[in-house]
């Protein structure tokens, strides 16, 4: 039963990782851009939510109504002002630009707030759970996180497979020059993908902030989990990222059962094993792969 519990908790933790990795996966999948400021942008979203909670007395859930569109606008600005220009210089330039952005955001947050750790308050909902047996209980909040992750990632996957703009996104990813010859303005497609990606970063940031404490610099420590989820699932596959996040989450919680001192190590080992055994990830032939 202890093991069942570990797996169940891992599934739900994995939902959070998948939600967090979604934007990274989408931006890499469509634009071939690795966004090193991904983690910091999610922390920005968490601080944005906190500001609304503090000033308006809203529940963190309600702040999503503002944080999601706000982060989408951040995505548009990021794409137009930074990434479009960087892509014009070289394939490596976006990497350097977002690395710089990551440092700038961390210091900006330190200036505005403080190095103290913060949390988004959700009261008793954060600790409430559904007790199935003595050793197995399912927390409301982790369950909700998993549900949101599934809806968001499968929703994006469905958009890419079915929608007219989703098709245009995949075509642009395959071959931007030929996509232009089909009448697709790749700049608009990139802007749309960045907005979609950052909207998911907004959701992820708020959920991370509700689950655990954050500081201005905690974004980069989460980034490694997002990368691992993306690589395990298969680079560029949104559906794969959902699976990758869950694999990583389960590996960490089961790892904690084996060796409580360092659960994250087991997660890293699973990640390395996937890299060795199946370097293109679990879902290599998926929509965006």
């Amino acid at each position: 039963m202890v093991w069942v519990n570990a797996v169940v908790q891992g599934l739900m933790l994995g939902g959070l990782y998948a939600l967090f990795a979604c934007g990274l996966s989408l931006m890499f999948g469509v634009m071939r851009t690795v966004n090193l400021a991904h983690g910091d942008l999610s922390v920005v979203a968490a601080y944005g939510s906190l500001a609304l909670v503090d000033s308006l007395g809203w529940s963190p859930f309600l702040t999503l109504l503002i944080v999601i569109p706000g982060m989408a606008i951040v995505g548009l600005v990021l794409q137009r002002l930074v990434l479009d220009r960087a892509l014009g210089i070289s394939a490596l330039a976006p990497l350097l630009a977002t690395f710089g952005l990551s440092i700038a955001l961390q210091n900006l947050l330190l200036q505005i707030d403080s190095p103290d750790s913060r949390i988004l308050p959700i009261g008793s909902f954060g600790i409430g759970s559904w007790k199935i047996s003595g050793q197995l209980s399912i927390g409301w909040f982790p369950l909700l996180t998993l549900g949101v992750a599934i809806v968001v990632l499968l929703g994006i996957e469905l958009f890419l497979q079915r929608a007219r703009l989703g098709h245009a996104m995949r075509a642009t990813r395959d071959d931007p020059a030929t996509a232009q010859l089909m009448g697709i303005d790749s700049r608009k497609i990139y802007a749309l993908a960045a907005m979609l990606a950052l909207a998911t970063v907004g959701i992820a940031g708020v959920f991370l902030g509700m689950r655990t404490t954050f500081t201005p610099t905690s974004g980069s420590s989460y980034l490694i989990f997002a990368f691992e989820a993306v690589v395990i699932g298969g680079i560029g596959s949104v559906r794969g990222t959902l699976a990758g996040g869950i694999v990583l989450g389960v590996a960490q919680t089961v790892g904690a059962q084996i060796n409580a001192a360092d659960p994250i190590l087991i997660g890293h080992l699973v990640f390395l094993t996937v890299l060795v055994v199946r370097p293109r990830g679990l879902f290599r032939s998926s929509v965006l792969a």
Partner: protein
Amino acid sequence: MSSLEVESIDVHYGDFQALWSVDVAVETGGTLAIIGANGAGKSTLLGAIAGSRRLSSGSIRFDGRDISDLPAHARVALGITLVPEGRRLFPSLTVEENLTIGAFRRRKGPWSLNRVYELLPIVANLRQRHANQLSGGEQQAVAIGRALMNNPRLLLLDELSLGLAPVIVQSLYAVLPEVSAEETTVLLVEQDVGQAIAAADRVQCLLEGRVTLEGDANDLDRDSIRAAYFGI
């Protein structure tokens, strides 16, 4: 009235000049073949008309409107569609998705998925396949269908015959009369001179970026074509 008027355009790749004061005019519904050896500038000319190559000087008018400064995607909206050299299908999309991408601009006109499948039955049988699982001839047929989905008024065809067996090339060229019948102007580029002359009503020859010959497809004799093609 001319559908397409290209007036003394120059195109450069860095310091290299690929086109030298090239003029092209095609009547609405007409078919012009551009012939020439490798590196003569044929694909560059099509790229300039489609908007993927920038002009150094000169102008391009389409239905009387100057389109020289329009980006490629905006020219597609006017009905200028290129079937690029080497097909360039989207490999992660299915055949049917490739076709629907062709209709991205939602231009009205005679062509639809069903009409394309009727014209190119070979494509109808492949609709759920991924583009990277097709033979060269199948890919070329899909590329033509994808272009038709935009309901083009000017169809630019770049080396349809490249790397394909003659019998397949013939079957692809056999669809052109039905395309022209829809008042679509066709500009095609070919290395295969015989095929080009058979498909077109006018022919222009490029040599090292300059027009060396122009005339009705029926009037040109082999010797003058040879001279214009090789510059001897």
